[in-house]
C-alpha cells in the first residue's frame, strides 16, 4: 500500500493542476497527479492562446492574476526556461459609448487594487497602435504590465520542475471513483489502480463537475467552446493584446496579439455560447473573426492563417472560478471553473492551493476565497470576461 499513498492527489495535469503539483511538492508534500491524457496540458491548456493579465474587475482575480504574472514573467531569470513571456500589455479598445462607459467604470477599482492601468485617448491609442482603424475610435485602456506567454511551454516547465522535485504523474488514467470514508476523502480510483491520499484536489477543468459528482458534490461548471487560430510569423508590428468587447450579431468579444514567435494568435467568444464538450472545428469561426479583426486593424488582411482549433471554457454562472474546500467531504479541494482563464490564473491559484493545504494562509487569501467560494450565490456578473 505504501507505494500508492500520497499526501495530496491532484486530478488533472492542466493549467491549474500542473503548477499546483509544483508548489505542493515544494511545500513538502508527497504529490500524485492523475491525468487522462498522455502528457500534461493536452486538454484546454494547449488550446489557450496565451494572454496573461491582471486587468480584471474584482479583487480576487486581480490578486491571482498579479501572482501569475509575477511567476511567469520572472521564470526565465529564476529558472532558465524561456516561456516566451512578452510584456506587451493589454489594450481594451472602444468604438462606442457603451464600452467606454463599462471600462471607465471599473478603472477606479482596478487602480485602487494596485493595477497599473490607464485610459488612453484615441490619439494616444493611435500612437500605440498605428494600424488601428481610427474611425469612431474613442480610446481605450492600457495595462502595460500584462502580457502573453506560451501556455504549452509554461505547463511543460511546471511539469518538469514538479517531476524533478518528486511529484509523480500518472498519464492515460481516468478517474472512475473517489474513495470516501466517514465523510473524509481517502483516495482516488482510476481505471488502472487505486491511490490513497487524505487530500484530493479537483483540477479537472471542463470535466470537474463530473469528478465532483463522484464525491456527491454538485458544482455549477459547464464547458462552452471557443475557437482560436494562429498565423504565419511576421516581424513584430504591435505589442499588446488587443481586446474588443463590442458585442455584435453572432459574437461577443474577440482578441488577438502577436506572440514572441511573430505569429498572431486570436480567439472569439461566440454569442450565443456553444455549450458542450465538442472541440471539432466549425466553418463559422474563421469568417466571423477575420471580418472583425480586419475591420479593427486593416493591415491584418494579408497575414496568412496557419492553423485553427477549438477549446473548452469551464464556465461558472457568474464567470468566477470555484476554489475552496468542500463542506460535504473533508479533504476534497476544488480548483476549477476558470472560465477560460486557467492559464492566466493557474499559477496564482496553484500557490493559493499550496497555502490552503499547508494551512499557511496569507492575509489576502480570505477575501479572495470568499469571491471564489463553492458556496457563494453565483448571481453577480463578471464585467471584463
Amino acid at each position: 500500500m505504501g507505494g500508492n499513498n500520497y499526501d495530496v492527489i491532484i486530478i488533472g495535469a492542466g493549467s491549474v493542476g500542473t503548477p499546483a503539483a509544483l508548489f505542493l511538492v515544494r511545500a513538502g508534500f508527497k504529490v500524485l497527479v492523475v491525468e487522462k491524457n498522455s502528457s500534461p496540458g493536452q486538454s484546454s491548456n494547449k488550446r489557450a492562446i496565451g494572454g496573461l493579465r491582471a486587468t480584471h474587475s474584482d479583487p480576487a482575480k486581480i490578486c491571482l492574476g498579479l501572482r501569475s504574472l509575477d511567476i511567469i514573467s520572472g521564470w526565465k531569470e529564476k529558472y532558465g526556461e524561456d516561456l516566451e513571456w512578452y510584456k506587451g500589455g493589454y489594450c481594451f479598445v472602444t468604438y462606442r459609448e457603451e464600452e467606454e462607459k463599462t471600462l471607465k467604470e471599473v478603472l477606479p477599482l482596478q487602480k485602487s487594487l494596485g493595477l497599473n492601468i490607464d485610459w488612453l485617448e484615441a490619439k494616444e491609442l493611435r500612437q500605440l497602435l498605428p494600424d488601428l482603424n481610427p474611425h469612431d475610435l474613442r480610446g481605450g485602456t492600457l495595462s502595460p504590465d500584462d502580457g502573453h506567454a506560451s501556455p504549452l511551454l509554461a505547463n511543460e516547465a511546471f511539469y518538469c520542475r514538479a517531476k524533478k522535485a518528486g511529484a509523480e504523474f500518472r498519464f492515460q488514467e481516468n478517474v472512475v471513483g473517489l474513495k470516501i470514508e466517514s465523510g473524509k476523502i481517502k483516495g482516488v480510483t482510476t481505471d488502472h489502480s487505486h491511490y490513497g491520499a487524505g487530500i484530493v484536489i479537483n483540477a479537472a477543468g471542463a470535466w470537474a463537475a463530473e469528478v465532483a459528482k463522484m464525491a456527491g458534490v454538485a458544482i455549477p461548471v459547464t464547458p462552452d467552446s471557443h475557437e482560436a487560430a494562429v498565423t504565419e510569423p511576421v516581424q513584430r508590428f504591435f505589442h499588446p493584446m488587443v481586446v474588443d468587447i463590442r458585442p455584435v450579431s453572432g459574437s461577443a468579444n474577440y482578441y488577438f496579439y502577436q506572440h514572441a514567435t511573430g505569429q498572431i494568435i486570436f480567439c472569439i467568444t461566440p454569442n450565443p455560447s456553444i455549450w458542450g464538450f465538442d472541440v471539432r472545428e466549425t466553418s463559422q469561426f474563421l469568417p466571423m473573426v477575420s471580418k472583425r479583426m480586419i475591420d479593427l486593424m486593416p493591415r491584418l488582411k494579408n497575414i496568412r492563417v496557419r492553423r485553427t482549433w477549438r477549446g473548452l471554457y469551464p464556465m461558472t454562472p457568474d464567470g468566477f472560478p470555484i476554489v475552496g474546500w468542500t463542506k460535504e467531504v473533508e479533504g476534497f479541494l476544488l480548483a476549477t471553473g476558470m472560465c477560460g482563464q486557467g492559464f492566466m490564473l493557474g499559477p496564482g491559484v496553484a500557490e493559493l492551493l499550496a497555502r490552503l493545504v499547508s494551512e499557511k494562509p496569507e492575509p489576502a487569501d480570505e477575501e479572495v476565497l470568499s469571491y471564489l467560494s463553492p458556496y457563494r450565490s453565483f448571481v453577480s456578473e463578471e464585467k471584463l470576461k
Binding site: 466553418s283 475591420d295 493591415r299 488582411k301
Partner: protein
C-alpha cells in the same frame, strides 16, 4: 548568361512560349511564359531561395508540390510559395531573409466584405489526378453532380510528369500509353460531362464538423462547399530522410525533380545522385537522362531494388551505377549540395565503417517511398461525412492502379447515391488487386535455340502487371495470361505459321523497353538487333560506335549503328539497329548512354545523425527529439510542445514519419507512441480571403 531551359526533349513537346523579364534581387532575368517562379529561378541557375528565419539555413525547393513552405520567396513584398505561383512580367522577387514584414496599409481604408459563398454539391472530388479523373468520369457519365477540385494549374496530377509508357492492362487502363498523354485523354473525357464542375488552382483547406468543407477557390476566394459525399483522391507525398545536410538546397524529392524537368522543362541539375530504388527513383533517373542530366549513381538500402526490374535494367543498361545495400550518410556543401557521402550497410541496415564513398554531385534526390495524403479523408470520416478515398490517398500503388481504383470508387459512390443500381463487376476488384500488386517472382533468362528468320526477344523476367506487348502483336505471337497479367510474357512462334513479321510494334510499345528484335535473315552470323531508344534522335546517328549491353548493363559487344528509324504507330520511341555476333545477339537488350562512370573519392565522414533536421519548418534536429524520447516522452504532442516540431507551415506533413522513425530507432514500439493532433488549415490562407474581403488584384495571393 545561364539558361537551364530544355529546348528539346525526346518525348515532351517544347513549345516556343514568349519570354519576358522579371527581377531577382533587382537583377533583370528572363522567364518563359507558363513557368512557376521556382522554375524560372532554376532556369536562371538560382536554387537558394532564402534563409531560414531561425538559424539562417539556406532554403530551396523541397516538395515542388505546394505542401511545404521551403521555397518561399518575397514577391512584391509578399511571401509566396514559388513552386505554386506563376511568374509574371516585371515581378520583383527577393529571397526571404528572416521574417517578412507585413505590408503597411492605410488604416482608414474602408474594408468591404462579401458574404462567403456556400455551394451545395453531390460529390466533392478532391484531386484531379488519375484516381480523381477516373472517378469523375464514372460519376459524370451517370449524370451525378460533381465538383472536382485540384490545386494545380492543370488536370492530370502526377500523370503530367510521366514521359514513360504505362504498365498495366491495355483494356482496363490504357497501358502502353505515356502518362502525359493519358492525362490529356482523361481530361478530355471528363470535360465532356456537363454535371462535372472543375475548379483548378483550388485547395481544400479544412473539413468542418458542421459538414462543410472550406475551400480556397482559384487561389483567391474562400468558399464553403456542402457535399453529400467526399471523395479524396489527393495522391501521395514523398517520404523524407534525416541525414546531415538533408535540408541543403539541392536535396529534394524525386517527384519535385520530375515536376521541374517534365512539367516546367527546366534542367535543375547537371549531376544527380538518387537515393532509393523504388519505381519513383528509377523513373526519375530515366527522366534525368532523357533531359540530358548526368546520373552519378543510385543507391538502395535493401539488397534488391524495390521497383520494377525493367525500370532498373533500363537505367543500368544506360550506364547508371546502381548500388544496393547502400545508404546515404550525408549531403555535403556550404550553401547547397556539392557532394554526397554513402556507405554500404550490414544486415541491420547500419553503415559499415570503412565503406564510405563520396561522389561529386549538385543534387540528391530522395526517393524512399510515398505516404498517402489522407488527412482530409481521416478528418472527413471523423466528422461524419460520407467519405471515400481512391488512388494513392487510399493505398500507394502505380498510376494504373490509381485509375482503376478511382473508377471503382466512382461507381460505388454512384451506387450508394442511388444513381446506379447494378453491382461493381467482380472482375473489377480482381483487376484492381492485380494492378496494385508489387513485383513478383523473377525468372532466369532463357532463349529460343533457333537462329534463323526474325523474332522478338523478351527481356521481361519479373512478374508485374503489364500486357501491351501481347495486345499489340498482330499475329498473336506474344502471350500474357489474360486472367493474370502479372505472368511474364512468352513468345509462341507456333501460334501463326508465318511466324514474326518484324513489325516492331512490340518493341516500341513495351513500357519497360524490354523487347528487342533479332533478325538473322541478312547475315546469320552477324544478325541485326533492333533496340528501342527514348532519347533525342539527333544524339545517335548511323555509323556511330555504340556499346551494346546485356539486361543489366554489362558490355557484350561494340558495334556501329546501321540505321535509326521510327515506325508509323510509333509514339516517340525510336529504333536503333546494329549488327552483333550471333553469340550475343539474343542477350543484347540495350545500349549504354553514360559511358563515363563517375569516380568516387574515398573519404571517411563521421556520421552525426543527431544534427540531421527532422522538422525543416521549425529547424528541429534529430538530437533534440531523440533526447526527449530517451527521457521517456511518448506523446508526439509533448515533443511538439517542447521543440515546436510540427508547428510550421507544412503542418507536420514532413516530420511525422521521421519522428516515428526516431522512435523506432530508439526501440519504442509503435503502440506506445501517441500521435499528434492534426488540425486544419491544409495550407496558409490570408485573413482577408477568409473574411470575404473584396481584395484588389494587386494584393497578395496565398
Amino acid at each position: 548568361m545561364i539558361n537551364n531551359r530544355l529546348d528539346k526533349h525526346p518525348i515532351l513537346l517544347v513549345t516556343d512560349r514568349p519570354l519576358f523579364n522579371f527581377y531577382w534581387r533587382g537583377q533583370k532575368l528572363t522567364a518563359r511564359e507558363g513557368e512557376t517562379i521556382a522554375s524560372a529561378l532554376f532556369a536562371n541557375g538560382i536554387r537558394i531561395f532564402g534563409f531560414h528565419h531561425k538559424d539562417g539555413a539556406p532554403q530551396g525547393i523541397f516538395c515542388a508540390n505546394g505542401q511545404c513552405a521551403q521555397c518561399l520567396v518575397l514577391v512584391d513584398g509578399f511571401p509566396v510559395k514559388s513552386c505554386m505561383e506563376m511568374i509574371k512580367p516585371g515581378m520583383q522577387i527577393q529571397p526571404l531573409l528572416g521574417l517578412p514584414e507585413l505590408p503597411v496599409l492605410n488604416p482608414e481604408e474602408k474594408a468591404e466584405f462579401h458574404p462567403i459563398k456556400e455551394v451545395e454539391v453531390t460529390v466533392l472530388i478532391i484531386g484531379g489526378g488519375p484516381a480523381g479523373l477516373a472517378a469523375a468520369i464514372e460519376l459524370g457519365s451517370r449524370g451525378v453532380n460533381c465538383l472536382l477540385i485540384d490545386d494545380k494549374h492543370r488536370l492530370g496530377g502526377k500523370l503530367i510528369l510521366q514521359t514513360h509508357r504505362f504498365f498495366g492492362s491495355v483494356e482496363a487502363v490504357y497501358a502502353g500509353t505515356r502518362g502525359i498523354d493519358l492525362a490529356t485523354r482523361l481530361e478530355k473525357e471528363v470535360r465532356k460531362f456537363p454535371t462535372v464542375d472543375i475548379w483548378l488552382q483550388t485547395t481544400a483547406l479544412a473539413a468542418f464538423s458542421d459538414k462543410k468543407v472550406g475551400i480556397l477557390k482559384e487561389g483567391k476566394e474562400y468558399v464553403l462547399v456542402k457535399p453529400e459525399v467526399i471523395l479524396t483522391a489527393t495522391g501521395a507525398r514523398e517520404k523524407s530522410l534525416a541525414f546531415p545536410g538533408n535540408t541543403l538546397p539541392g536535396v529534394y524529392g524525386a517527384g519535385a525533380f520530375q515536376t521541374l524537368v517534365n512539367r516546367d522543362l527546366v534542367r535543375p541539375t547537371e549531376k544527380l545522385f538518387i537515393v532509393g530504388g523504388g519505381n519513383v527513383g528509377l523513373i526519375a533517373g530515366y527522366h534525368a537522362l532523357q533531359a540530358g542530366i548526368k546520373v552519378v549513381g543510385l543507391i538502395e538500402v535493401m539488397s534488391e531494388v524495390g521497383g520494377y526490374k525493367v525500370h532498373k535494367d533500363k537505367l543500368a543498361r544506360l550506364g547508371v551505377p546502381i548500388l544496393t545495400s547502400h545508404t546515404i550518410l550525408s549531403a555535403n556543401g556550404q550553401a547547397s549540395v556539392e557532394s554526397v557521402t554513402i556507405a554500404r550497410v550490414d544486415e541491420q541496415f547500419k553503415p559499415i565503417k570503412g565503406t564510405e564513398k563520396t561522389y561529386a554531385c549538385d543534387t540528391v534526390l530522395i526517393a524512399v517511398g510515398l505516404d498517402p495524403v489522407n488527412e482530409f479523408y481521416l478528418k472527413a470520416r471523423e466528422f461524419g461525412f460520407p467519405a471515400y478515398a481512391a488512388g494513392d490517398a487510399e493505398e500507394i500503388a502505380e498510376a494504373s492502379a490509381a485509375i482503376f481504383s478511382g473508377k471503382i470508387r466512382g461507381l460505388e459512390i454512384a451506387r450508394d447515391l442511388g444513381q446506379y443500381s447494378g453491382q461493381i463487376p467482380d472482375t473489377w476488384e480482381k483487376t484492381a488487386e492485380i494492378l496494385k500488386s508489387k513485383p513478383g517472382q523473377t525468372y532466369p533468362e532463357s532463349y529460343l535455340e533457333k537462329e534463323t528468320g526474325i523474332m522478338p526477344v523478351i527481356h521481361c523476367l519479373q512478374e508485374i502487371p503489364c500486357d501491351p506487348c501481347s495486345a499489340v502483336c498482330p499475329r498473336k505471337l506474344i502471350e500474357v495470361d489474360k486472367n493474370d497479367i502479372r505472368k511474364i510474357p512468352a513468345y509462341r512462334e507456333e501460334n501463326d505459321s508465318r511466324g514474326c513479321s518484324g513489325c516492331e510494334r512490340c518493341v516500341v510499345i513495351c513500357p519497360g523497353l524490354a523487347i528487342t528484335l533479332v533478325d538473322y535473315r541478312q547475315n546469320p552470323d552477324w544478325p541485326e538487333v533492333t533496340i528501342p531508344f527514348e532519347f533525342l534522335k539527333e544524339t545517335i546517328n548511323p555509323g556511330q560506335e555504340i556499346i551494346l549491353v546485356d539486361l543489366e548493363g554489362q558490355e557484350l559487344a561494340r558495334s556501329r549503328v546501321n540505321s535509326v528509324k521510327s515506325i508509323k504507330v510509333n509514339d516517340r520511341t525510336i529504333l536503333i539497329k546494329a549488327q552483333v555476333p550471333k553469340e550475343v545477339a539474343k542477350k543484347v537488350s540495350g545500349l549504354r548512354l553514360q559511358t563515363q562512370i563517375e569516380r568516387a573519392d574515398e573519404k571517411y565522414v563521421e556520421n552525426i545523425p543527431d544534427e540531421a533536421i527532422i522538422c525543416r519548418c521549425e529547424r528541429v534536429t534529430a538530437g533534440e527529439i531523440r533526447k526527449l524520447i530517451r527521457d521517456g516522452v511518448r506523446d508526439i504532442n509533448e515533443i511538439k510542445t517542447i521543440t515546436r516540431a510540427g508547428m510550421g507551415p507544412c503542418g507536420a506533413k514532413t516530420c511525422t514519419p521521421l519522428v516515428h522513425r526516431l522512435f523506432r530507432e530508439e526501440g519504442v514500439p509503435e503502440n506506445e507512441i501517441i500521435d499528434q493532433t492534426k488540425r486544419p488549415l491544409f495550407i496558409e490562407v490570408p485573413l482577408g480571403v477568409l473574411a470575404g474581403l473584396n481584395m484588389k488584384n494587386e494584393e497578395r495571393k496565398p
